[in-house]
């Protein structure tokens, strides 16, 4: 056992590092410090993506013929590590390149692929995924957005929700209901759509955390050509599964303060009896958080090992978000309580750690829901990893239109 690169991996890492050292510096010199959520930030991100694509560092595992790097999964991991170390990496392209474009590649005709894949790799065009709806969250297949055939076109009406980046995306893949007279999984059809169409309206969602990072997307008589269909009519669920299969790989690691930051806070504050860091209850929790977050780190190392050996990684990475989201919530709340009465303050100029713990406290509930709720993720582990049976289903043989619905 060791943590070293193989000679080939080390050579690749060296090459990536040298390339990054040169181009990251040039990128910074060109753009300077850009604030997130600004047009300049997006422009810088697109520029960086194009730079990577020109050197084969965008979509590293994709064939070079379609604009990728023609590399291996472990090379992709290595480049990602080095890019993060270099302080670069923009999140705008993750969902599009990780989930949407692979779906287009799997189901679209050659002309469509030719038209869209290369611009996406270069960062010219950004894609979003339009699946979740008010009536279909964990149960995505219960979605209601309706597509009705009209000659060579489809007319789409309905609403999506929690769409990451809908307001800045150029294109999206949209899952619709085309036949309400058959059971729910059988009446779905997937399309790609132009997000700039006037019939598409994005409205930001005001989150409980105060931010507006996600959107509702409304479709009012949106007309799409039948050639924009991905997969057969009624096969939308099959297509969606290909998209979602990539989700586990695309959804990244955890953000926010961890055991190091709360240890730093505890060192600075006084507790009930003596320094907060000396409180035995706190020390026990701290040990648990350390063990969990190191456990996740070393689990990623196990996954990397499989990739490095050219094997398919095991299901162990499925534990990641359940642990990290719950830990963030507990850790943030412990920190806020450690601040005692002062913990109620949220101004970054006043609250310790620039209010990172207060912000995490308000963000963590969303993290436990996004990309699969705790409960759905446990179902996935139980069913796909442990091979336990699925739940009893009341909706399998019932036409969608006859299914009981609540709010």
């Amino acid at each position: 056992m060791d943590f070293n690169d193989s000679p080939e991996e080390a050579a690749y890492r060296e090459k990536a590092r040298a390339w990054l050292a040169e181009h990251a510096a040039a990128h910074r010199a060109k753009w300077g410090e850009v604030k997130p959520n600004t047009p300049e930030h997006m422009a810088a991100a697109k520029d960086w993506q194009a730079t990577k694509a020109s050197a084969g560092y965008a979509c590293i595992t994709w064939p070079a013929a379609i604009g990728g790097g023609g590399g291996t999964p472990i090379q992709s991991v290595i480049f990602g590590q080095e890019e993060t170390k270099a302080g670069l990496g923009y999140g705008y392209f993750t969902i599009g390149l990780g989930m949407c474009v692979p779906t287009v590649m799997a189901f679209a005709d050659n002309d469509t692929k030719k038209r869209f894949v290369s611009p996406a790799v270069k960062g010219d065009e950004i894609w979003c995924q339009l699946f979740s709806e008010p009536a279909g969250g964990s149960d995505v297949a219960a979605l209601r957005t309706r597509a009705v055939k009209d000659g060579d076109e489809w007319v789409i009406n309905g609403q999506k929700v929690w769409t990451t980046g809908a307001h800045y995306c150029d294109y999206g893949i949209l899952l619709t209901r085309t036949d309400p007279d058959v059971p729910k999984h059988k009446g779905l059809t997937m399309f790609w759509i132009d997000m700039r169409d006037a019939a598409v309206e994005c409205r930001p969602i005001h989150q409980m955390s105060g931010g507006r990072e996600f959107n509702e997307v409304y479709f009012t008589d949106l007309r799409v050509k039948d050639s924009q269909r991905l997969g057969e009519v009624g096969d939308g669920w099959k297509v969606a599964l290909v998209t979602l299969m990539n989700e586990r790989l695309a959804v990244g690691g955890s953000a926010g303060p961890n055991y190091r930051e709360i240890m730093k806070l505890a060192r600075e504050l006084s507790g009930v009896a003596g320094p907060a860091l000396k409180d035995q209850g706190f020390r026990d929790k701290l040990a648990d958080w350390y063990v969990q977050s190191e456990g996740l780190k070393f689990t990623r190392f196990r996954t990397m090992t499989a990739l490095s050996r050219g094997q398919t990684p095991g299901p162990e990475s499925s534990i990641g978000k359940i642990i990290s989201a719950n830990q963030l919530q507990e850790l943030a709340n412990t920190a806020v309580e450690m601040e005692d009465q002062y913990g109620i303050l949220v101004d970054p100029g006043q609250a310790p750690a620039e209010a990172a713990f207060q912000q995490s406290l308000m963000w963590a509930p969303g993290l436990r829901i996004a990309g699969g709720t705790d409960e759905i993720l446990k179902n996935i582990i139980a069913e796909r990893v442990l091979g336990l049976p699925g739940d009893v289903r009341l909706d399998k043989d019932v036409a969608f239109k006859d299914m009981p619905t609540g709010r």
Partner: protein
């Protein structure tokens, strides 16, 4: 990145599993459980010696196989899975590892070949009563090479040939090697939460004792030995926890209630998913411990603490929830769930309870961040 068993190590682990399936099925474990006069299974002990496991990590010059510690971890994982009723941990993780790390050349030559040959069982005697043993409370004394005092409980103390005993000499704590077959030693077998592993009270009245390692460094040496043992014990715990998850899964898939298998109920599915999550956290931390142990890395204190905390939590959770999944049957003597529940307690307590290791971990993190 090479953070998993190698193919050779996997082969060794598979072979160990096959051997234990043939020679340590549950009837062997129950043979010790149900016969209080039996401290361990002698036949299995002999077989394990013949497999070379007792000397797996002992250098060839001392009669061992000279394999690495990761190989020993692989064997430990299988022993834990099989709830093996033998004094392997006391002899190999504590005595052999302790003598290899701190013993004088003469001590190595006297002890290690006998361990490898299956002729010598060891034990570690630190506890003197309820609560955590510390420098202020240490009662056992060595004067002029003679040990006096009482150690309770000592795992495998009733069958061991030698003990490593924590005692103070001239007011300074030290670790001492004591021949338990010599004069001045009285042993009394005690009842344990886990009768598949034996415990004893050892009373010393002027028993011959020779120091292992530096004078005054008793607690540091014991801690260093326990760091090594903690990693290996974590693999036993991991093996046990994995087996509990398998048992719960098998039972849930075959047990019907309200017209369908209970494995289809979310209350059961989520319980098993929770077990899986804890077991994987334990496995990843245990692997890091294995690396640190094998490479004798400066990270060992932190890695061992994390491995022990994660593995103790995983085995405790899996063993108690395995009983829960089995329902009333799980509470019977005849169903095997309690063997794992008992062993999870034995393994969590034997080298210091998790709370001790949590404190050690945080203490080490404080040192690391202060440096």
């Amino acid at each position: 990145m090479d953070f998993d068993y190698s193919d050779d190590q996997k082969f060794l682990k598979d072979e160990a599993r096959k051997f234990l399936a043939a020679h340590c099925d549950v009837s062997v474990v129950r043979g010790v459980l149900d016969n209080p006069e039996r401290a361990f299974d002698e036949k299995l002990w002999k077989g394990v010696a013949e497999q070379g496991w007792l000397g797996a990590s002992i250098p060839e010059e001392f009669g061992g196989l000279g394999l690495g510690r990761v190989e020993l971890c692989a064997i430990a994982e299988e022993l834990g899975r099989a709830v093996a009723p033998i004094p392997f941990a006391s002899t190999v993780y504590v005595l052999a590892e302790g003598i290899m790390a701190f013993g004088a050349e003469a001590q190595k030559a006297a002890i290690l070949p006998r361990i490898a040959a299956g002729e010598l069982i060891g034990c570690l005697a630190t506890s003197e009563g309820p609560g955590v043993v510390g420098p202020a409370s240490l009662q056992c004394r060595v004067e002029g090479g003679k040990l006096s005092g009482t150690k309770i409980p000592v795992t495998d103390g009733d069958v061991a040939g030698v003990a490593l005993v924590l005692a103070s000499e001239g007011g300074r704590p030290g670790l001492f090697l004591v021949d338990l077959t010599g004069p001045g030693v009285t042993r009394e077998t005690l009842k344990s939460l886990d009768p598949t592993r034996s415990v004893a009270k050892l009373t010393f009245v002027g028993a011959a004792a020779e120091r292992v390692g530096d004078a005054g460094a008793g607690f540091e040496i014991v801690q260093a030995i326990l760091d090594r043992a903690a990693v290996l014990l974590a693999f036993e715990q991991l093996g046990g926890a994995d087996r509990c998850l398998e048992m719960a899964r098998e039972y849930a898939l075959g047990r019907y209630a309200f017209g369908r298998v209970i494995a289809g109920y979310q209350a059961i599915k989520h319980k098993l998913a929770d077990m899986y999550v804890k077991n994987e956290v334990a496995r990843s931390n245990a692997y890091y411990g294995a690396w640190a142990l094998n490479d004798d890395a400066p990270e060992l204190p932190i890695a061992a603490s994390a491995a022990r905390i994660a593995a103790s939590e995983a085995f405790w959770f899996a063993s108690k929830e395995n009983i829960q999944v089995h329902g009333g049957m799980g509470f019977t003597w005849d169903v095997d769930c309690h063997l794992y529940y008992r062993r999870s307690r034995q393994l969590s307590l034997v080298a210091g309870a998790p709370k001790v290791w949590k404190e050690r971990l945080v203490g080490e993190l404080e040192k690391k961040n202060a440096a």
